[in-house]
Symmetry: C2
Subunit: 459 residues, 2 copies
């Protein structure tokens, strides 16, 4: 076998032309989304006020195994894809580990993250349906940036509700979205009922992803032929993100490799769900037995400390309910936490895989995450996003285990993005002023005890 390159790029001809829908191969499907008005499983029509039709279909389609990627989407993908599969030679050397560490790097695009993969698909379908525009929320700003790029490309108006704390801390993120032509509003805002309600309770509310989602959904539902698009959690998003896993699996096959462990960071679950998709398939079908590991922040521990229950996807409780690991839709991690991945729940597909024992989960405090990020940056010359650094931490942990056990395993992790807009967090880490935050049980109970009651399903 030839020497494995530092970075392997598939050619455009080798790029996947269809997304992979893991649900088609899951022996038990995720529980159905419920309409909050009726408590009954959603049908496509229930979702039409919120999502455009093609996406509503993808959201509920548990059967179609491969979904063709539209040509216009592929064309824009080629502005930055295929993304490289990297061998972390320098990191391996620094750790003195017998493990072979690979990472799929999704940060080589202007949005700085994997989020663009789904943004392009959603903007495309919205334009195809002839919409007047779309709305969305953004936390750290990666999703908003990605969607701005996609909407600029397809000529579609976009309004972004940006979590207020980020809006204030990351003015440059806002500026990039402006450059790509988007309207950006700090959330909670006085432009929606959901926002006004929260501001009435606490004018200094720093916002949360859940709240920004509520505002964006409300704006879409009340708008004139406007729909809402979401960058994570949803089945449709994990479908689009499967391109990460498909490219990874194909590249590893070209190298004669197969991962013993696949590690990803987990907030809403979009990157992890995409990365592990083909490997979870192999595991479900009994073709291989890779370990699948989710790493989440100790400050927002939905998998490791949440409940597997029906909950709203948003703070305003206007979205459909999904069964997932959740800390309760009113949970907001402390502002001390700078490491991203702040969503209260976890993608239903990943929640189901975890519940059924196909996936493991770990949580980590942010100073440990930044230790990993800094070591990685200096060795691999990439400044990782704090979110991505959760996966780096997980991969390093596995590599050190391999060293202790004298095992030469193959580790694959997802490096979802770059940290250029998280320098305030890096500065506090470098200055030694970064603090860790781990919610108490009582704090978590406060929000988890308010999960919705659904007669006959969740009392």
């Amino acid at each position: 076998m030839a020497k494995i390159p530092h970075r392997l790029y598939l050619t455009e001809d080798q790029m996947p032309t269809a997304w992979y829908n893991l649900r088609a191969d899951m022996k038990e499907k995720p529980d159905p989304m419920l309409n909050p008005a009726t408590g009954k499983p959603c049908v496509e029509e229930d979702l039409y006020p919120v999502f455009c039709k093609k996406l509503a279909h993808q959201e509920l389609d548990n059967d179609t195994r491969f979904v063709d990627i539209p040509g216009a989407v592929l064309d824009m993908y080629k502005n930055y894809r295929p993304s490289p599969l990297c061998r972390a030679y320098n990191l391996e050397k620094a750790l003195d580990t017998p493990a072979r560490i690979y990472y799929k790097f999704e940060g080589n695009n202007t949005s700085g993250s994997h989020k663009l993969n789904s943004a392009i698909a959603q903007a495309y379908y919205a334009r195809e349906q002839g919409l007047n525009g779309v709305t969305t929320e953004t936390g750290a700003g990666q999703w908003g940036t990605a969607l701005s790029e996609a909407c600029a490309y397809f000529g579609l108006p976009l309004t972004v509700f940006m979590v207020k704390a980020s809006y204030q801390q990351k003015p440059f993120r806002k500026a990039i979205m402006h450059t790509f032509g988007a309207e950006v509003i700090a959330s909670p805002s006085d432009t929606t009922d959901a926002g006004r309600k929260l501001l009435a309770e606490d004018p200094a509310n720093p916002g949360s992803l859940g709240c920004a989602i509520s505002e964006a959904v409300e704006r879409a539902v009340k708008g004139d032929n406007v729909r809402y698009v979401l960058g994570s959690v949803l089945n449709q998003v994990l479908l689009h993100q499967s391109i990460i896993g498909l490219e990874s699996a194909q590249a590893m096959e070209l190298l004669g490799e197969y991962p013993d462990v696949v590690v990803g960071c987990a907030g809403g679950g979009s990157n992890l769900g995409g990365l592990i998709a083909p490997f979870a398939r192999d595991k479900i079908l009994g073709k291989a037995d890779p370990r699948l590991v989710a790493v989440e922040p100790a400050s927002c521990p939905s998998l490791t400390r949440g409940r597997y229950a029906y909950d709203f996807c948003d703070t305003g409780k206007i979205t459909p309910m999904a069964r997932m690991y959740t800390l309760g839709c009113t949970f907001t991690p402390s502002p001390i936490h700078a490491g991203g991945l702040r969503y209260h729940g976890m993608a239903p597909i990943l929640s189901k895989l975890y519940h059924d024992g196909y996936m493991e989960a770990e949580s980590v405090t942010q100073t440990n995450v930044f230790d990993a990020a800094t070591l990685f940056a200096r060795q691999e010359s990439i400044l990782p996003a704090p979110e991505s650094a959760h996966a780096i931490w997980g991969a390093i942990k596995e590599a050190l285990r391999c060293k202790e056990e004298g095992r030469s395993e193959t580790i694959l992790f997802g490096l979802t993005g770059t940290g250029f807009f998280d320098m305030t967090a890096y500065e506090s880490y470098m200055a030694g002023t970064m603090q860790d935050y781990v919610p108490t049980d009582a704090e978590l109970h406060k929000s988890m005890d308010k999960l919705p009651k659904i007669p006959g399903i969740q009392e």
Copy 2:
């Protein structure tokens, strides 16, 4: 011929393993660097207090055609190279031009620019010589970031003098350098004689590249086994940057293409000198006749309005003197100018090529540059650095000429980096508050009339 991909990556096996020294093929060499103390041509030993030995040799070596890239440098190059050669399909479509537009994208690395190519080489040679550290200057921060990455990788202490205006406007740049372990000092500072002198004249001096160079050189010369490294202008830097052109030429050959026009932005000349190297060789040797076009800011027009004369490379007048197109080493462009490329001179190699008619030059105002940047960003999904956008403007101009003339030419331009740290400039452009600045003849004379007098050479 197969369809040309949006992005072509050479494989690692195809990567150049030697830099190309254009001076070896120039019929007339650039005029020799002069020792300011004696007025005589520098010999290597004259440079030893400032540069490490290998780099001093490369600086004066007009003969060696190819210089092997050390293995450790190649290893770090593979953290981000080869860089892609991109076909701007979407931009072509938006311009409705028959031209085929290619760009070599050097922004896919954490430093965000091509500067890393020379930073790695210089940090490597410094470590090989057993230095205690290196110093440098940085303007927009790309060079400082690049060198921080390289020094972190090779374990070499680094002090960066950062132009004060940038230091204040770009706190995140500073933070990235910190994360990679560098010391960052705002220039002019009170840590050097050169800095103290300027501060005494004007405590509010916003700094300039020339001044930061003076401080960094002074610190190196007075330090204990410390040397200075520079990210542009020098012959050695253009040598290292030749990898941009070599990869471009090789990729174009694989595609069956050859550029009719090569366009690059020009500040100190590092990117342009690297990009055009193999094409300038073909032109000099009569093998081909590509047009070579430098685009510089109207606010700092060294090629289009400067004098071809001996000048100091720094404001403090402590470096050797080089013959180049210069506005005078005391020239500082107005702070209104946000588009980078603020250096008072131009690389001696490029100055000579321009003087001898091998290269053309154009200047452009910054609102035009940002028009081009925004159009490009929305079509190609890359947010360009303002510096790079000068080349985009030039390429678009050529493409529109092709359209008018009905000619299907092949245009290659250098996209040197990304604009994540230039969002203040983008915001002012988007808000319509960006102003243009073109110095008057009187302003230019003020600094050009102070060029050094050298008996027998320049009276």
